[in-house]
């Protein structure tokens, strides 16, 4: 366990000392929340002169959110998780480029610790980042309205869900880049994956308004599982187990599969 812990703390040390990464990871979801949430508040399109209509639509399409920001924020937490995972994947390439990886490969440490330290540290980072993001979303004018029954347990479960999402994705990215030597290659891969993962999910829009072909895709996207379940926590509070248990289960399976892949790939993957 030693190397897994000390390498994780190496990642966290570097992260704390270099706030640029925190800033970059936050800036895009923040931008989406502020721009989309406030400026392009699609819920404003609902005519208010239909008696009871507006709340009917908000309830059936937007899970009873008071405004679009409230709907969007949990989705953006998931997207931010995706970015964090991407960063952790990238840092394996940095380690390779700056020679540190050869030290790790020659050391008598479990191979998986090289990847798992990235995974664990990005989970910790995400908890800090999501707290900041939540706070900003609440503080902006006409911002996130939490459910009145939202409590500390909901918050902890939200962190857990986010961590599960990140565990899967940072494992995925790390495994993809394990042999990649060029930064450009990683950029191409992440661009290829990030946008579809982001838009083919319920992070920004409810699946109810999507065409059925897209719905099928969206339902298999781990980002949707995380976004949906975090949304339930934020908008309905007091842990509605029945509405989130499926998503939690899928995320769990996603993690188990990815971690197994990490163990297998890391065993042979670092060799040239």
């Amino acid at each position: 366990m030693g190397a897994r812990i000390s390498l994780t703390s190496r990642e966290l040390k570097k992260w704390i000392r270099n706030p640029v990464q925190l800033f970059i990871t936050l800036i895009q979801p923040l931008f989406w929340i502020l721009l989309f949430g406030s400026a392009f508040d699609i819920t404003k399109l609902i005519p208010s002169n239909i008696p009871g209509g507006s709340s009917l639509i908000m309830n059936s399409f937007f899970m009873g959110a008071k405004n679009y920001i409230s709907f969007l924020t949990p989705g953006m937490l998931a997207i931010m998780g995706l970015f964090s995972a991407m960063f952790s994947g990238m840092s394996i390439i940095w380690d390779r480029r700056f020679g540190y990886l050869s030290k790790l490969i020659v050391a008598p440490i479990p191979r998986d610790s090289i990847i798992l330290s990235k995974v664990f540290s990005s989970m910790v980072k995400a908890i800090v980042q999501s707290s900041i993001l939540l706070l900003i979303a609440i503080l902006v004018p006409n911002g996130l309205v939490l459910s009145s029954s939202f409590n500390i347990l909901d918050l902890l479960l939200l962190f857990l869900i986010l961590s599960m999402l990140i565990m899967g994705f940072s494992s995925l990215f790390s495994v993809i880049v394990i042999r990649v030597k060029k930064m450009e290659t990683l950029m191409a891969i992440t661009n290829l994956l990030n946008l579809p993962l982001m838009f083919a999910s319920t992070a920004m829009f409810p699946s109810a308004i999507m065409p059925s072909w897209l719905k099928n895709v969206v339902n298999y996207n781990p980002i949707s599982w995380a976004a949906n379940s975090m949304r339930v926590l934020v908008l309905q509070g007091s842990i509605q187990w029945s509405s989130i248990i499926n998503d939690l289960f899928y995320l769990f399976i996603f993690d188990v599969i990815m971690i197994i892949i990490v163990f297998i790939v890391s065993k042979y993957g670092f060799e040239e």
Binding site: G2, A3, S6, L7, R10, K13, K14, R17, N18, F98, G99, Y100, S102, K103, L104, I105, V106, A107, P108, I109, E271, E272
Partner: protein
């Protein structure tokens, strides 16, 4: 028993490049063994195989009785590696790099700190240990890299081009540190280099490697002896008489009016006899100069080319790397 024993080691990379072509090695405990060869000779590839980073295509390598493939984990505990390219973490402090490295070997924190301080002092980095490595000079980084490879007190230290990219003074200092390490800890060192002077001044034994093959092996003086000749320049008061008493030497020539040059296999043995004859013939020596062969001549003899050609190529690579690093 030899601490490193290698038999017919081969590495063929994807694409068919035969980087290491059936080499054999026997290195004794406590020895400093040098792999001398130009760029692309297969030095790094050999080091990578011996340090379990890559698997050989065929052949055996036994380190301290352990097979580098079958006993990978045990081999890793026993060896230290300072790779060709810097491998310290710039975003950590000097001491943090050492402590992190120590954690890989399960060394308790207090012991790690004690050992780290000792090593830091050895290479004159103690004062800088709490600074971020990003503020270190190239030479300081290389020294830190050197001692991170030693934190767990390895039996064998692998140094892949330990002075690559350093200026002449820093390089000489690095040699001092490496000699000091051997003196202090009696550690076995396997080093690679493409600097002749480095191999000459540090190594007990040298293998010259070219195109993946060891072309010749021996101590620096043995290797030089293989080139065959010491060159002697001598000035005596009666050159004509002197020439008559010279025997068993070759290539006698007059350099100028007075200086006679000749070549002799072992001047240490030959000259005392010569002096005796000079004395008997009542000649007087005015000047004498002996030039021992250099590794340069050895290299040319066995590879058919000069080392220098490759050095300039390496110089360019180094500059390019430096530019890239500076971003």
């Amino acid at each position: 028993m030899d601490i490193i024993h290698v038999e017919n080691l081969v590495k063929i990379y994807k694409g068919g490049i035969r980087a290491v072509d059936s080499i054999n090695l026997n290195i004794k405990k406590g020895e400093i063994y040098g792999f001398l060869g130009p760029n692309g000779a297969g030095k790094t590839t050999t080091v990578k195989m011996l340090t379990t980073m890559i698997k050989p295509t065929s052949g055996n390598a036994i380190i301290n009785g352990l097979d580098v493939i079958k006993d990978q984990a045990k081999v890793r505990k026993m060896i230290g590696l300072v790779p060709q390219d810097l491998s310290v973490d710039d975003d950590l402090k000097g001491i943090e790099n050492l402590e992190l490295q120590a954690s890989f070997y399960g060394i308790p924190k207090d012991d790690a700190r004690e050992r780290a301080n000792e090593l830091l002092k050895l290479v004159d980095l103690y004062e800088a240990k709490d600074r971020y490595v990003s503020t270190y000079s190239g030479g300081m980084r290389k020294r830190l890299d050197l001692i991170t490879g030693l934190i767990h007190n390895p039996e064998i230290l692998f140094l892949d081009e330990p002075t690559l990219g350093l200026d002449v003074q820093t390089r000489a200092k690095m040699w001092d540190y490496i000699s000091k390490l051997r003196k202090e800890y009696g550690i076995t060192i396997f080093l690679t280099t493409h600097y002749l002077e480095e191999a000459d001044s540090l190594c007990d034994r040298i293998g010259i490697i070219d195109h993946g093959k060891i072309v010749v092996e021996g101590s620096p003086s043995e290797l030089k002896a293989k080139v065959g000749f010491d060159v002697v320049d001598i000035v005596v008061d009666n050159p004509e008489l002197f020439k008559n008493i010279l025997n068993d030497v070759s290539d006698i020539s007059m350099m100028d009016n007075k200086t006679i040059r000749f070549k002799v296999p072992e001047s240490e043995v030959y000259l005392p006899k010569l002096f005796q004859k000079i004395y008997e013939n009542r000649l007087k020596i005015q000047r004498i100069r002996v030039e021992k062969p250099s590794l340069d001549s050895v290299f040319i003899k066995y590879t058919g080319k000069e080392m220098r050609e490759h050095e300039s190529e390496e110089e360019i690579m180094r500059t390019m790397r430096a530019i890239r690093r500076a971003r």
